[in-house]
Symmetry: C2
Subunit: 425 residues, 2 copies
Amino acid sequence: MPTIAPSARLSIDPARLVSRLDELGEIGAISGTIGCARLALTDDDKAGRDLVRTWMEDLGLDISTDGIGNVVATMIGFDPTVTPVMMGSHIDTVATGGRYDGNLGVLAGLEVIETAIAAIDRGELQLDRPLAVGWFTDEEGARFAPDMLGSLVYVGGMPLEDALEIEGIDGAIVGDELDRIGYRGAAPTPGRVPHAFVELHIEQGPVLEDAGITIGAVEGVQGISWTELTISGQSCHAGTTPMRLRRDPGVVASRVNVFVRELAERFGGAQVATCGVITHTPNLVNVVPSQVTMTVDLRNTSESKLQQAEAEFHRFVHEVADAEGVEVEFRTLARFEPVDFDPRVVDLVAATADARGLSTHRMPSGAGHDAQMFARVCPAGMIFTPSVVGISHHVHEYTEPADLEAGANVLLDVVIGLAGTEFTS
Amino acid sequence: MPTIAPSARLSIDPARLVSRLDELGEIGAISGTIGCARLALTDDDKAGRDLVRTWMEDLGLDISTDGIGNVVATMIGFDPTVTPVMMGSHIDTVATGGRYDGNLGVLAGLEVIETAIAAIDRGELQLDRPLAVGWFTDEEGARFAPDMLGSLVYVGGMPLEDALEIEGIDGAIVGDELDRIGYRGAAPTPGRVPHAFVELHIEQGPVLEDAGITIGAVEGVQGISWTELTISGQSCHAGTTPMRLRRDPGVVASRVNVFVRELAERFGGAQVATCGVITHTPNLVNVVPSQVTMTVDLRNTSESKLQQAEAEFHRFVHEVADAEGVEVEFRTLARFEPVDFDPRVVDLVAATADARGLSTHRMPSGAGHDAQMFARVCPAGMIFTPSVVGISHHVHEYTEPADLEAGANVLLDVVIGLAGTEFTS
């Protein structure tokens, strides 16, 4: 069991952290907002990478770039056979992104390393292992699918050669774009397995703010089931077609939306259900739609409950489609099983926050993160900080400076603690 | 009470009627289909008008064009103080139109007049009143709102000067377009009130075909209530936002869709209800929508029942919106009270079809038609012929030649009967 670092008296420099977040956020800035757009492997992503690499160089870190463009910077002066405690996240964003999502995990990692180096120099800190911080290519998946691509390749979940051939929404190819921006590196993939991995991230949801909690100790990542339904009925005139002769795919889509809402409320716990997409064709006021496309996003921390939700959802769709006389085509857009983070890391996050006098809450992550890839190969965990109004992937994404500072200080203590911990299993 | 015409032995020439429908349908033809596009007052509409006017001229009819471009052709050789029995409809189409909607009422009227003139010449028919056929500008409303514009102006429902200033979806102005295509005429509006008005039209719905009936005796036009709802909630991440913190306008829209479907089934009778438009913003799989726009189309032949449906719908929207914590803005897009056709005309249509050995069914019209404007000023009625699969406003719109013939023959008998009828009220 890791113990809370005795170095809890160390603290990061909050002004430096915020200043770097702001400076990085100016690259690809969306005019008139605090948001930014740096889709993976674009010119703006390159500019962001170049800036963060400069900061890594300024700290004298050992910087390696691998074949998918993941960049990892490691403290020097340690026995090269000792694996580092790694922090990190991503610096690509969605098209209407904020300056915290991903960026916080990278720049807080950098801030932790700068703080640790200074403490070592002052003789106030000794580390058995180096600390490292990385950013991982195309976490958002907004340009190239799948998301979490760089960390997936890092942990050996996808061969590099397959990843390099992926075509983006704009027709660009990953390998070509890496060459173009100069970030196809020589470090091998799969990458070196770290001693442990910790990612600080904004919550991207309203739970912490709603409960007035500063630190989320993330227990795992929800399993995700995305289904697209294409429902085909009979288009007809809204005035001239009696109800008994209708085969309305819009009514079926609406029944499904109401059903999955009620399913989520009935299941309770971590179950969520969302119909984000409902598209009527032809979408005219006086025409019963001929076809409706909709998506159903089901998530749960329990794989068995997620499977139960999927089964109920499928059964209901078949029932209402038969009753209405419409055809339904199912397409699975994504399916990930839940991920459990290492309980030793989760406990350490919670205990560290507590020792710092910060309120803390154990919770799942509803979104996917690079840390879940590292959970396949080493003890891994995450720290959440609150998102104002729960907003993310939006130019209004914001986290209070005091919460950024608290999160980075917990990250500091946790990685120092992990550097002093030998895991026996 | 009008009586069935003793001239029931007369019959129209079905080949000539179908040939003219096909020839007119070639103007603005949609390549690879039997559909056509002649939006009101476009070059294609002008070409269609010119063709039909040529046919009117060939029959030696007295042709008048009024200030809104309505064209009426009347048999000559009658006392000019005797008002005609008028037939007619429109020849403009929607952008993805068929060759029957509107066109049938005009060309069947022409066919009836040609048949009557030949019978008079052969000494087989005497008429106390002339027959007339007209087409009315912009019935579809697909380019200029409101629909049924020409007949509305004809019966005095809108001042001509207001109509001439209407701007279309493409920025064009009605008066300018009439001048451009040479169809701003000198005949006054409101136009001369006919003795009676009868419109033959395809059903545009599946009722007749479904019941195996050839002739619909149209009792009236359903009242129409169109409402647009703009539902504003809180966009959030589909994974990270617990159900209890959601304010999802998509769920509200779906509940409304299911509610109005069930309302229509509960009301029964002529009540129909349709949510043709449901538009999610941003319409992404993993984002709870911030806003949803939807339309609710309610129709009934009874004004009191329509008002009851509207009241229940409004109450339900407020209830579910309050429960979900979303804001709803209501906008009335259209509201027309039901129209009753003259029962003497309805009875005559039914009795005439029966006398011809044709199956017949009394029914409302779910769509608006020029005849409902004439119902404001004179005895008016409509005859429906079946639409294959109920399809209309679509390039697949089709009516069997035998049904076209049956409909035109009923029209022939009905107008001859009306020409011999003096209405006492």
